[in-house]
Symmetry: C2
Subunit: 385 residues, 2 copies
């Protein structure tokens, strides 16, 4: 089993790209990543995408995107695991290199949610939930987030204002990220005044959907050392599932898939949570940030919210999260999210995160979650000393 490293990254600004097509967004990220890697000798491409079939009536993105990117003929498929599609695609790319099937492999996560011709965004997104037992009743992704948030507040005696720190941190970090959708800071006093989306989840509690694409180039670590000055090693990769429907879980406030995926990744990398310098988690709603900190071993059950309250999640804190804005402020790129997370961690480990830089970042983790926890993908990335 070969060791794998990242040799190139690329991304587009997240936002409303009304005049840019899905394939063009993907090309922009691919072009940047290949330039960064200094090679175009890609043998396989994995596309992370969830919504193109429903919103753009376009599937078959593998063939479509490599053709448009000037890589016609290259092996390419889409990997889908709802909002965790990007992380799942990254994992398949890692396995492709490990297996010996290819040397240089590219992952691109892309989503186009504006200018849609098919279903509504709400209808498309809730396909991550259980269609027969959740969505059929009219529930939306925000409503599922609200159910979890209400229960979390009830069990742990938490007020909405106690969650403000997650969004405040994300927005503060996004100010320094030129690729972020919203680069304005958010005050805690404004957080509680957001328009209600699905009680108790309000506007400032919810990540905005945005168009965008991010790409990562991988190759065997031995090769990487000769190709780029600062390769970043994939120390661990894991993907675990759980029941997609909230009501099917033994305890909806425990993200079992995230817990197991993180545990496997720590074991594979030979580290403990305290060894992680930054964590890009899946903060589609603030309650998910709290639950993921708990599932990944950074807080006890019911105490994830305290890390947002006491500053532990800030760039100088114990476990910096959403260091480039997270889903909340960089923007929620649906099935592309997991690849953005990897790009951001690589930037940090290279010391190239600019105004978002976490001091002395040597080891970062991504936690990409599909639906309300049905899939969790974890990658641990490390600087090569």
């Amino acid at each position: 089993m070969r060791d794998v490293s990242v040799i190139g990254i690329g991304q587009t600004k997240v936002g409303e790209h009304w005049t840019t097509s899905l394939r063009h967004l993907a090309w922009e990220a691919i072009h940047a990543a290949l330039a960064d890697a200094g090679t175009e000798a890609v043998e396989a491409v994995y596309v992370g995408n969830m919504l193109a079939g429903a919103l753009s009536r376009q599937q078959h993105l593998g063939a479509l995107i490599v053709d448009f990117a000037g890589l016609r003929g290259v092996e390419a498929v889409t990997v889908e695991a709802a909002d965790a599609s990007g992380g799942a695609a990254l994992r398949q790319a890692v396995l492709a290199v490990r297996s010996g099937a290819a040397e240089v492999v590219l992952v691109v996560g892309v989503e186009k949610v504006t200018d849609m011709v098919g279903a509504s965004g709400t209808t498309a997104q809730v396909a991550a939930a259980d269609a027969d037992h959740e969505a059929v009743h009219g529930v939306t992704s925000a409503a599922l987030g609200a159910l979890l948030m209400r229960r979390y507040m009830h069990e742990n005696g938490v007020e909405l204002a106690d969650m403000a720190g997650f969004s405040v941190n994300a927005h503060a970090n996004a100010v320094g990220n030129p690729y972020a959708m919203f680069r304005r800071p958010l005050k805690a006093s404004s957080f509680v005044k957001g328009s209600m989306v699905a009680d108790p989840v309000n506007l400032f509690d919810s990540a905005p959907a945005g168009d965008g694409a991010a790409a990562v180039v991988l190759c065997p670590t031995e090769m990487a050392k000769d190709m780029v000055p600062s390769p970043v090693r994939v120390a661990a990769s894991s993907l675990v599932t759980d029941a997609p429907a909230l009501h099917d879980r033994a305890d909806p406030l425990v993200l079992a898939a995230a817990n197991t995926a993180a545990g496997r990744a720590y074991h594979a990398a030979g580290v403990v949570p305290g060894d992680i310098d930054l964590l890009e988690l899946h903060d589609s709603f603030t309650v998910f940030a709290a639950l993921q900190l708990e599932a990944a071993g950074f807080a006890q059950r019911g105490e994830g919210w305290t890390l947002a309250k006491n500053g532990d999640i800030g760039p100088q804190g114990r476990i910096p999260i959403s260091t480039c804005g997270g889903l909340k402020a960089r923007g929620d790129v649906g099935g592309g999210t997991g690849v953005y997370q990897a790009v951001e961690v690589v930037q940090q480990l290279r010391g190239a995160a600019g105004d978002c830089q976490v001091p002395n970042a040597r080891r970062g983790m991504t936690l990409n979650v599909g639906g309300s926890g049905g899939t969790a993908v974890v990658h641990i990335l490390e600087s090569i000393e």
Copy 2:
């Protein structure tokens, strides 16, 4: 790189399963495949599916299906490459075992096209084509097939009746397959009288869409020998893309992706076309069968149709195709097709194909094509002596 073998297969009957849900179809195939393999110790599941997002408003099938199949928590993702999704999922499963990430891996190809709640079947299917440059003009999958068929007839001086042999062979073979959608023979004289679908493609020239699921269990060959009496070795696996849009190709009558994928597979397996005992190809329209025989080296350019005319594709012929009915008579299971093809080849190599049996089959090939040739996936499977 570890050698990989098939240790279990399962499938549902293809047809209109109005009262059976997508996840239930998948479970039925998974259950049969695991019973056949004699193990439930599955570590990863790859789902081949194209249409669930559009037709059932259900994505995130990995988590959903493993949960319903009693495998909650197991790693699972969907792999999508239009109609080649099943073959693409099989390839990812092969890579997962080769990489050492898992020992026992399951692939399930599933599609549910009846009782749909989302887009129409026609709208969903044409998402395999180029949405911005083909589908936007109102073209359908059948219309793209018709464009190719018209050109093929024109260039090669072929009449509609000359193509009859493909459908006649498929229907004759399906009579012996209890899982086939249509088990009635078709006469050549009836073929030319089919209702027109998209001139010159008629009803008997077109494969019928059906619900169904098929599953395959893989593990390292060394382990397989201890687990089952007749493991079937994956001698080669390849996936190649081409421009999804017909008008983007240098020559629309050359399926370049299928040609390259087959060539790579022959090279990897150390064989030539003459060593292949049977070929499950992607006969969604008869012209595709002809073009694929040419692309895979069984006929010269423009001469694929002659194999259907002279009996070369029959069970006793030079290169038997659609041995269990193919897409034309077993039914076109969309993104599940590639897994059905693998199940059928394994049956043949085990000598367990019943009334469909090809005499002395030792080596079989699958050719799973997405869209009108944008993706081609080839697997060569061999009996272990």
